[in-house]
Amino acid sequence: MRYLPHTEADVARMLKVIGAPAVEALFAHIPAAVRSQRPLDLGPALDEAALLDHLGEIAAQSRPAGAEGALSFLGAGLTPHHVPTAVDALLGRAEWYTSYTPYQPEISQGTLQAIFEFQTIVAELFGLGVANASMYDGASAAAEAILMAKRVTGRGHAVISAGLHPHYVATAETYLSGLTDSFQLAPLDDRTGRTTLSELGEVSCLVVQSPNYWGVVEDLPALAQAAHARGALLVVATTEPLAYGALESPGACGADIACGEGIGLATGPSLGGPGVGLFAARTEHTRKLPGRLIGETVDHQGRRGYVLTLATREQHIRREQATSNICTNQGLIALAFTIHLCLLGRRGWRELSALNLAKAEYAKRQLASLRGFSLRYTAPTFNEFALRVRGGDAARAVEKLAEHNLFAGVAENDTLLVSVTEKHRKGDIDRLVKELNEVLP
């Protein structure tokens, strides 16, 4: 057993020091009534070659949209980008992935400084003063934003745009289910695809996703004004942070909290996890934030260093009065996000964003000009857009093309949601247009 170093001689020597006759004696105080009555039945142990064969067989039973030979326009909350080789090469250093939460700063400066840089990048992208060290994912980050808005405003009712990703809405519903809080949905305008607001009332916050689930860019300044007029916070969620390379940041548009999902820029899609929840807010709300924060300080010789800070908000200090129960977060994926954003830099971020916009606009025009398709909404989009499919059944078209490893988009009733990024060459887009045109009766 290669991970268990003990020889029988080791065991014998250790038992002697302990003063126990056998290993089993160390378990003798556990009452027989609660002891296992039979050995674990988990299948035979596998040597490494057999293990790789077994896992290889399992892997081969899926047809990954992200593999060679496949062409995918799947997005809908997870937009895969090209992640440079250097990201995973650096992530593979054991100093990153086999370390724990940086509780001992003198020997954890690597993680602490990297996450400090992550906080800086997230705050910059969202145009807000402070960002935390990450949340589980975009959905739980949005739910935590609603809880934070309650701490800031003292109000328990939220309004959520119907353009928020359905998983995020469902997660918010689950998070609020044990509390006295509630929310209502603000519908989308059927023509533009943007959130429409009737009278807001005394609510804690308005939660909107931009670009929203259907890819539509929301008019954030107008929504901020409407929320602030009633003393509510504007929470902006995003499943595609890259949009803010081309779009004015949530903070500049008036958002009080911004949150989102960074998986598409950090790592492979990995069936949706692990990703990284992004979370930022206005500086005056710092002490209401959920999750960990890294701060800059000095050591006794005045050298710059970093520590976990403002921990009196957190569960290990404040227990039932903590701002959140989160402990383990998504640190390693936050690191991957950080490395990629550093590789891109200011210029790369802007250019990558421009590439996505241009490719998606090209695809949008080509597809909307087909006889069987029309644009679902009129408001501008970034790198994802919704098409209405003539005849109604978008799912059937998608399933048919998926048989040939062309994942054309995400279908819901008569609507097809198509995501186009820098990964798609013009020829890929032209192929999508051609095959979608042919598959429709």
Binding site: M14, L40, A45, Y97, S108, T309
Partner: protein
């Protein structure tokens, strides 16, 4: 000559400024494809919503990025560098084969919106992992959705609330021993429950009389950690469960310490109704400097209807994703959980098999008891009962005799080349101003490593007697000294700015 000496640290270690202070305007480490379609002007496209100014990102080449993050990595301690005996954190070795497998396109390249027919391997793996965890834990079903242990607690408590509501009951309280992790009470609050603390008994175990006095019709659940954070097996677990059940409540077990029980105790058969499992502790998925984790939750049959959506179901030889679950507590996050962690845990379990996992538990307990035997002469035990996978010492004697405290010992351990254990936890061990050292060596450490670590601690005790200031000023060998945490909290600098760099 002492038993052990501080390590020599003569390696080049570069001080590394924030990446934002490096590079040159206009520089980039990006490799982007050419634009092969007509350009779109963001201002023309988005109007006033177009971004006016770029975010202040770094402007560096790939070489600079590589050096920066390589240099930073070297400022980290890690399991692959040495013993990492954080109690309750189970810092065992993370097998390399797990990392390889999780990166295969057949797992890492899967998009969650693919048709289920193209995801059969992934669904099979999740279905099988659920079965394996249920066999290990003694449960009927499990959800793999929670992203970490605390997220699992949230899920478990929600299922408990839904269970009661389904029976027309609305109990409001959760009983929590004072030795519990801080996440337990925090998860209760997030769930709308009030918490009732239970004081640990004089023997270090949960006090049955205190439990009997506290359990009543308002009791939704007891949250118990077994073995407790004191490293002690709750020997009265069957009676405890009976008391809670008789009051109408359910028993939630924090499975953070499941590493002590593999093949020995299946918690679901001891009266426990719900338990979360930290894949990043017991099942070797890496901690990644703070995450990602994964916190599957096992439940007994009575709680199955309330599992989060979706679940994975097997029909004949194929697998499907089940969303129609009318009594479910709902969804806890996007997609299917931290799938990459599921792949790693599954790989580990299949490599070890039942016998291997049982042996892992035996060696984990052997290692903890060995350290206990080596150290209990110098450090009094918090509670003198049989230890499982971890052992909790106090600094009572050392502090009284030398003025040196737990924090000093922890910092001095770094000079000897070790990550310190968990300190000042759990609460019952630190009453009356004592400090606690909570040591969990895990099964993957050799006895030679344990001997060297014990020698280091014993040498530090000698140092504390001869030259207490040496220990109080530690660490001396690290590249940076004790950091001013008060300053960090008083004047928070939570992001880099141009001003803060001067």
């Amino acid at each position: 000559m002492k038993r052990a000496q501080p390590i020599e640290t003569r390696q080049l270690l570069h001080s590394e400024p924030p990446i934002f202070e490096q590079g040159s305007p206009g520089r980039s480490g990006a490799s982007l494809p050419p634009l092969d379609v007509p350009a779109v002007d963001p201002v023309a496209h988005f109007g006033a919503l177009a971004r006016a100014a770029d975010p202040e990102l770094a402007e560096v080449s790939e070489v600079e990025v590589t050096r920066h993050f390589t240099r930073l990595s070297r400022w980290n301690y890690a399991i692959d560098i040495g013993l990492y005996p954080l109690g309750s954190c189970t810092m065992k070795y993370n097998p390399k084969v797990n990392e390889r497998v999780a990166r295969w396109p057949g797992f890492a390249g899967l998009h969650p919106a693919q048709p289920p027919s193209s995801l059969q391997g992934a669904l099979a793996l999740m279905w099988s992992l659920e079965r394996l965890l249920c066999e290990i834990g003694g449960f009927a079903r499990a959800t793999l959705q929670p992203a970490a242990g605390a997220h699992g607690e949230l899920a478990g408590l929600m299922m408990i609330r839904a269970y009661h509501q389904d029976r027309g009951r609305h109990p409001t309280q959760v009983l929590i021993p004072d030795s519990a992790h801080g996440t337990n009470p925090a998860s209760c609050t997030l769930n709308g429950f009030t918490t009732v603390p239970l004081k640990t008994g004089a023997d270090g175990l949960l006090d049955l009389d205190a439990l009997r006095a506290a359990a009543n019709g308002e009791t939704a659940a007891l949250m118990i950690t077994n073995p407790s954070t004191l490293g002690l097996f709750e020997e009265r677990i069957a009676e405890i469960a009976e008391v809670v059940h008789r009051a109408g409540g359910l028993v939630y077990m924090d499975g953070a310490n499941l590493n002590a029980l593999l093949g020995k105790v299946r918690p679901g058969t001891t009266g426990v109704d719900v338990m979360h499992i930290n894949l990043h502790k017991t099942f070797t998925t890496p901690h990644g400097g703070g995450g990602p984790g994964s916190g599957p939750v096992g439940v007994v049959a009575a709680l199955e209807p309330f599992l989060p959506t979706p679940t994975i179901e097997k029909e004949g030889t194929s697998y499907r994703i089940e969303y129609a679950r009318p009594k479910s507590v709902g969804r806890l996050r996007s997609f299917f959980g931290n799938f990459g962690m599921h792949v790693r845990a599954y790989t580990y379990i299949r490599e070890m098999g039942g016998e291997g996992l049982t042996r892992a538990t035996e060696m984990a307990v052997l290692n903890a008891n060995y350290l206990r035997a080596r150290l209990q002469g110098a450090f009094p035990l918090a509670y003198d009962r049989p230890s499982m996978h971890e052992v909790v010492f106090t600094d009572k004697r050392l502090k009284k005799e030398t003025g040196v405290q737990t924090l000093d010992v922890a910092k001095r351990l770094m000079d000897y080349g070790y990550h310190p254990p968990t300190i000042y936890f759990p609460l019952p061990a630190v009453t009356g101003g004592a400090g606690a050292l909570m040591i969990e060596p895990t099964e993957t450490e050799t006895p030679e490593t344990l001997d060297a670590f014990a020698d280091a601690l014993l040498s530090i005790v000698e140092e504390a007697v001869e030259n207490p200031q040496l220990v109080k000023d530690a660490p001396h060998q690290t590249a940076i000294g004790r950091l001013d945490e008060t300053l960090a909290a008083r004047k928070p600098r939570l992001r880099w700015t141009k001003q803060s760099s001067t």
